[in-house]
């Protein structure tokens, strides 16, 4: 039985999604419970799988229907994909718990269909991570993309239009990827990743222009999907108009999984030698990544819409991870991988907190933050922890990923990237302290009329009623915030047990 666990990670949510489309008549509560149960089971399976991988310190190769690769479908779960699976399943479970109230608010009708798409998206993400085959990866990529279009379009205001743009760009990205896979298939006759690794290491293919074009197309496709600067323009609009729960699910995970796929393509399908010696783009990519980090953060600083701000932060974070992957040393790779986990958690933390603010105030701009500490103290603390992690304040996990990334950049003497990381941190600090000042002390412009009397002596301003988010939102929020700190404190364990094993040979 336990051998079948890897397959269950994908099968459970897939079937749950099918059931969810059928159970509309049983009411909201039933769909919610079904969703939670399915995701909890998935999470348990992914934990179990990770346990198996760590126990034996070896990769699990699961053959669907026992068809041998390269013909059959193969799931490959090693330390890296195992831990990413846990991240996805965990974040999805937390978001599902969180969705009880806001999802109902955003989807008064047909909640079960919303949940069906929700879990289908999770299926896609899990599948992409576990897949050991380039073409299956494409199929699952499309599954997750299509369900994300559906989810995003259910957002507010001009969400249709923003999603349409995303659909066009996303499809182009997927086409690039597919085209690239086509080139590789023509050259090698295989789609299985492990198989490809062996085939591509032949000297004549190392030199082949077609393979190089294939690689270029795949990487470009992934970059579009992960919104690497300057291919990021679709993202802020699409994500910031989404419903609260949708944003919490998609924003932290979609881009992280794309980064994971980039790492897979770079270091599993191709090799360190091929990427950094034959292709030798790394200088250019590091510049792109540095630009992404700085431009993303500065753009975030300029936003007044909270969620748009957060999406621009993601643009910057994507820059961090890309840079870490391309500086070509172990510290950079560890930084990038660790940052997948860290960033997944901290953006989830922030999106949840902001979602709760929007849920309570109905306002998505900075003014919604006014007196947040008095109104919603728990949410405010969660926000502070998320913000601290983005800025990189110890002991949150954001500090340690930045530590590894800067260490990697310094070893590679990529000073531009070091500078970009530091500038981005400082800009993030300015951004969040501006926000927290409003949240903590209220908006100064709004309280100007009180200024005469308000010299801070025994005067408290008008009393603010406490209006905390409902418990179903608070619990997952607090769990995420605690996870941000726990991940930081246990950095050594995470690196030693999971990440160190996946550092590619030759770095």
């Amino acid at each position: 039985m336990i051998d079948q666990v890897p397959a269950l990670i994908i099968i459970i949510p897939l079937f749950a999604s099918l059931f969810l489309t059928l159970v509309g008549s049983l009411g909201h509560r039933f769909s919610y419970i079904l969703l939670i149960a399915a995701l909890a089971a998935t999470f348990a399976c992914s934990l179990l799988t990770l346990g198996l991988v760590v126990d034996d310190n070896q990769t699990i190769q699961y053959r669907m229907g026992d068809w041998p690769p390269p013909l059959g479908i193969e799931l490959v779960i090693d330390h890296l994909s195992g831990v990413v699976l846990v991240l996805i399943a965990g974040c999805a479970l937390l978001t599902a718990m969180y969705s009880l109230h806001p999802a109902k608010q955003d989807n008064p009708d047909r909640l079960n269909h919303y949940y069906a798409l929700f879990i289908l998206l999770v299926t896609g993400l899990l599948g992409m991570t576990a897949s050991g085959d380039l073409f299956n990866l494409y199929v699952l990529l499309e599954i997750s993309a299509l369900s994300s279009y559906g989810l995003l379009a259910r957002g507010r205001g001009p969400a249709y239009f923003a999603t349409f743009k995303y659909l066009i760009v996303g499809t182009i990205g997927a086409c690039f990827y597919l085209l690239g896979v086509g080139y590789l298939y023509i050259m090698t006759g295989s789609l299985n990743m492990v198989d490809l690794t062996a085939l591509l290491s032949q000297p004549e293919l190392q030199e082949s222009v077609s393979v190089r074009i294939g690689f270029t197309l795949i990487i470009l496709g992934i970059w579009i999907k992960m919104a690497l600067f300057p291919l990021h323009a679709w993202m802020p609009n699409a994500y910031s108009k989404a419903g609260t729960t949708t944003a919490c699910l998609i924003a932290p995970l979609m881009t992280k999984v794309s980064v994971y796929i980039m790492l897979r393509i770079m270091f599993t399908v191709f090799s360190v030698d091929y990427i950094f010696n034959s292709i030798a783009w790394s200088h250019l990519v590091i510049y792109l990544a540095s630009a992404a980090a700085v431009v993303g953060m500065i753009a975030a600083l300029a936003q007044s819409d909270l969620r748009k701000m957060l999406t621009y932060i993601i643009v910057a974070e994507i820059g961090y991870m890309t840079g870490g992957a391309w500086v070509a040393n172990a510290s950079g790779f560890i930084g990038a991988t660790y940052h997948i986990l860290a960033d997944g958690l901290m953006t989830l933390c922030l999106f949840m907190a902001v979602g709760a603010v929007i849920y309570r105030t109905g306002d998505a701009s900075k003014t919604a933050m006014r007196n947040l500490f008095q109104k919603m103290p728990v949410t405010a603390v969660v926000l502070v922890i998320g913000a601290a992690s983005i800025i990189g304040i110890p002991p949150t996990c954001g500090f340690f990923s930045k530590w590894y990334l800067i260490q990697g950049a310094a070893q590679a003497e990529a000073w531009v990237f070091v500078a970009a990381l530091l500038i981005a941190s400082l800009v993030a600090a300015i951004m969040f302290f501006r926000l927290l000042e409003i949240a903590f002390f209220g908006d100064l412009d709004a309280t100007d009329e009180h200024e005469g009397s308000q010299h801070g002596h025994g005067h408290h301003g008008p009393a603010v009623a406490r209006e905390e988010a409902p418990l179903s939102m608070l619990i997952p929020m607090v769990i995420t915030a605690v996870a941000v700190i726990v991940l930081g404190v246990y950095t050594k364990e995470v690196v030693n047990y999971f990440i160190i094993w996946s550092v590619p040979v030759g770095l």
Binding site: I393, Q411, E437, F441, L444, H455
Partner: protein, 494 residues
């Protein structure tokens, strides 16, 4: 003497005592007396731990505690040695004194958000002792950041436009320096040396041989300016801005804990990371000495122009902090001793001065020096203490500041830096210039035209005056009997 295992736990308790007090303070917000009891309890435990460690350190021991290994090659660890002990003793002792005074001040002015105030105060003391006891650069950095963040709400305490502007500037300089300069320097150092633990002795440092000169120079100056709490120009601008905070904050934090943490980190890095040999070889010491000399003189000149008492004291702090760095940068044993003992001497004197400023404000609501003529006659204890403490700033015997000047002068002669002697002379003159008139006018002057005092002005409440007198008395005591603290300093550099 306790068993050695006690000394393994003592540093942790010393650091965490005030951290543990935080939830207790928060929960007893509606009962002020209970709340203040927790502050005192934490302060008492903290000082007791530090003091018991002091005896152990004097016996020639160094306590090393590995708390958690946070990265495979790096841990959060404590190391209690004589160098850190100087600062830990001063700040943990002064917390008790300052806590007493703070209660009088905050209640006297009926300040708002007192619970938040005491929470942040406790947190910042945890961070200060953490810095003093940190065993490697990472730990030091973590506590350094914690101190910046926990003092931010204290600076913004009044929540008005001025308070927020001051707090913003505060964070901009401190975080800008630490994230922008210190953090990359740390990581590069880690890449080069493979460790961030402080060296065993002050001679060698941990920078590996064969590191490029340019790199060493860049790292060194990143640390000198990055630890912006040390107030070296041009990174000093946050300190006058931070004076919008309530006076107890200015007294304990911006005269002792925060700024001394800056100086402590700077000197710790100079001696235990770069080491005397390397600094000597690259002439980094003498360059630093000239940089801080500029700060000493310039800050004193600016102080002359300030009429607001706290602003004048702030610039005096900027100037005095650089004495400490100057002493260490001269690298001659006597000068290093003089610099380090100034951590103690300046702390007691400057906290007295700020306490006086606060007492004057509570009693009269006056902030400007020009409005203080004649006040000394109604507030003799306050202004008497002020006079004694300003003597220490000037460096006159028998107050502590004299010891500093003496050692630094001897060290300057040893190092053969005659130009620095001129700096010291000029600075002393300037100190006289901006401190003497305050006392003189208070006792012998008249209130300026147009300023009238409300009838019935008298000394501030006893709970404020007693800490003032205690701090002033100790200022004199360490001038006459400097030996206790000098023992620690002499263990750093014989």
């Amino acid at each position: 003497m306790y068993s050695p295992s006690f000394y393994q736990i003592a540093p942790v308790i010393a650091v965490c005592a005030s951290l543990a007090a935080v939830p207790l303070i928060a929960l007893s917000g509606s009962r002020p007396n209970l709340r203040e009891f927790w502050t005192f309890l934490a302060a008492g435990i903290k000082f007791a731990m530090v003091f018991s460690l002091a005896g152990w350190v004097l016996a020639g021991n160094v306590v090393e505690v590995d708390l958690i290994r946070i990265l495979p090659e790096l841990s959060i660890s404590f190391r209690v040695d004589s160098f850190g002990m100087v600062f830990a003793l001063v700040s943990s002792f002064l917390w008790i004194v300052a806590a007493t005074y703070t209660i009088g001040y905050m209640r006297g002015l009926q300040e708002h958000a007192q619970t938040r105030f005491f929470i942040c105060f406790a947190l910042s003391l945890c961070a200060a002792i953490g810095v003093a006891f940190s065993g490697n650069l990472l730990t030091m950095y973590v506590f350094y950041e914690m101190l910046s963040l926990s003092t931010y709400p204290l600076v913004a305490h009044h929540q008005d436009r001025e308070g927020r502007a001051g707090a913003r500037k505060y964070l901009a300089f401190l975080l800008g320096g630490s994230v922008g300069l210190v953090l990359p320097a740390l990581i590069i150092l880690f890449v080069l040396a493979g460790t961030l633990d402080f060296a065993e002795t002050i001679q060698t440092g941990i920078v590996p041989e064969g590191t490029g000169t340019t790199m060493v120079v860049i790292l060194f100056f990143a640390c000198l300016f990055g630890f912006a709490k040390n107030g070296v120009m041009p990174m000093h601008a946050w300190l006058p801005g931070a004076m919008v905070a309530p006076t107890p904050v200015s007294a304990l934090l911006h005269a002792v804990a925060v700024v001394k943490v800056g100086v402590f980190c700077t000197t710790r890095v100079m001696l235990y990371v770069f080491g005397i040999d390397l600094m000597d070889e690259l002439n980094l010491g003498i360059i630093t000495a000239y940089i801080v000399s500029f700060t000493i003189v310039m800050a004193s000149i600016i102080a002359l122009t300030k009429d607001n008492l706290k602003a004048r004291l702030a610039y005096s702090t900027v100037s005095q902090l650089s004495y400490i760095i100057l002493g260490v940068a001269l690298l001659a044993p006597a000068a290093v001793q003089g610099g380090l003992i100034h951590i103690v001497n300046h702390a007691f004197a400057k906290i007295t001065l700020f306490f006086c400023a606060g007492a004057i404000y509570v009693a009269t609501h006056k902030k400007n020096i020009s409005e203080m003529g004649g006040l000394g006659r109604v507030m003799p204890f306050t202004f008497g203490a002020f006079a004694i403490a300003s003597l220490s700033m000037i460096g006159a015997p028998p107050v502590g500041g004299f010891i500093t000047k003496w050692y630094i002068l001897v060290g300057t002669l040893d190092a053969g830096q005659l130009a620095i002697i001129l700096v010291l002379l000029a600075s002393t003159m300037l100190n006289v210039g901006y401190f003497a008139p305050i006392t003189y006018k208070a006792f012998f002057g008249k209130p300026p035209a147009g300023v009238t005092y409300e009838p019935g002005i008298k000394e501030a409440p006893l709970i404020m005056v007693v800490p003032i007198l205690v701090a002033a008395t100790i200022s004199v005591a360490i001038g006459i009997f400097p030996e206790y603290m000098m023992q620690f300093v002499k263990m750093v550099i014989p």
